[in-house]
Symmetry: C2
Subunit: 338 residues, 2 copies
Amino acid sequence: MKDVTLKEIAKKLGISITTVSKALKNYPDVSEKTKAAVNELCQKLHYTPNSFAVNLRTKESKTIGLIIPEVMHHFFSNIINAIIDEAEKKGYLVIILQSNESLELEKNQIELLINKRVDGILLSLSKESNNDAHIQEVINRKIPLVMFDRIAKLSNCSKVIIDDQKAAFDAVQHLIDKGCKKIAHFRGPLNPQISIDRYIGYKKALEKNNITFDSKLIYTCEDITFQEGIDYARLMIEEHPDVDGIFAITDLVAVGAMSYFNEVKIKVPEQIKIIGFSNWFMSQVVTPKLSTVEQPSTEMGLAAFALLLEEMNCHRDNLPFTPRTVVLPTELLVREST
Amino acid sequence: MKDVTLKEIAKKLGISITTVSKALKNYPDVSEKTKAAVNELCQKLHYTPNSFAVNLRTKESKTIGLIIPEVMHHFFSNIINAIIDEAEKKGYLVIILQSNESLELEKNQIELLINKRVDGILLSLSKESNNDAHIQEVINRKIPLVMFDRIAKLSNCSKVIIDDQKAAFDAVQHLIDKGCKKIAHFRGPLNPQISIDRYIGYKKALEKNNITFDSKLIYTCEDITFQEGIDYARLMIEEHPDVDGIFAITDLVAVGAMSYFNEVKIKVPEQIKIIGFSNWFMSQVVTPKLSTVEQPSTEMGLAAFALLLEEMNCHRDNLPFTPRTVVLPTELLVREST
């Protein structure tokens, strides 16, 4: 469809383009009668201001980019939810991309967003990414950037995180308080900071309680899936039938392990206690209900967008902005599995 | 940050703007040496072609809009997943908005996307929406539009759906085949077509098997939540303790009902058989595992985007396009709850 232009509107009404433009912006020096005529005709002909031309003038696209590792993840869907609702309220649209945990894809997506001239970027890193060149490129170009959850500690940008070490420490301390003596950890892959921090929290809790750390009790879930929960539970029971507690990197893995124990009639929590992480919805509907760590996903989305908005406003007004890190509190949710 | 312009690049190299522009587009009449110099300097100064100016020239934004009722819904996250991956492969970015089941919000979002000049819109209606004026506006403006899952039958646009009536019929027939004589239906709200069609499928299955329809066995879940599943299961047991089968509008409601039965020691499937709809992930991890209807979410996302792409290409090339409706097959998944 050919777009209607201001010129055509002006011609049809026998007035100047400037008058049409002023009428649409409700300038006081245009008569109410002319304004009414212009508005009526614009509506009739489906006139829309050309947003590309508006963008060229204002240099703002009123669009932000959001890159997350995966949409199908309970925690991230919650965050998307919070961000798109809040962004819309503040007049921003959100382009969402998922890296599928690939550094290569993430790099391309950063480039796409830069070329698209988004006003800012919200980023949760893929498990392969760190403080790499593509992140530096965003920072060098002074494009407002906030990392959340999966961050690179060394990147010079704002960050929103939880204290993963402390949260993991609390979860393992809870298992110990409930009487567990031999606790396995189903950890995440080696690179992401959250995976490292939860592992450190696990070790610290053992240390504090004078339980010797045993690297054989660490099972690494490369893809953090339900199936890995099942498989490592089976392997663990073969290798260490006397394990009496498991701390899992996330609820999905914990629920996988529980599903295996259920199948082979190993009783949770009587024989093995399990605690997950993130409070996925499913953790309330499984039998027994899963103890977990509540991660404030909505709050994380809101905090990340608020920081980005602050930086975008400074950027627009040529004001200085110093990146900040916001640490959100977590909460231990004790349910039936412990 | 001030953007680097072609003019500045030209000045620094002592050549014309036209030569810089041609060098970047790899025109044959510019020497390799000049091209190399231009590319090197552009890289050094972080030059990016101004996408707004490019958009103004090509009239394409290479962006599409996607409006869904809610992100936090297993089925819709799956669809988002499929659409953003496929769109990216074809060179499109996706702006995602959620209507939160509100007609008012959906209207505003359609307007935002029109003003943003997206090349096309993918839409799954809110439960309050139908073939309303905002849909007509998109169609009148000839903006490529595809509805999926939650559609308005009367809208003159492409659609991707499943045969909800047949899928519901099959689910209820399955309960009857398993010996159920008195089957309740936890239905969705009155307006959305999927809710109407599943209800009709339920009635048709009863009719085919000479079971008298009883409107008292219909419980309407206005918000289609886990809690409604719990509440209506409780109410139903009070009112009709002899019900021996439930067909629920979606797995979330079915899992809510099961959680209530679990609490009050009513045995599923021995005393009551339950079947859900959509095959949410949680239906495999609850005890007993929930029978359900598999809805092809990834295929639906891919089919919707493919139709939109076809229409956008026709639109760009001024070719005619006739809207089509694609009906995807469903599959009955028999598990432990029946």
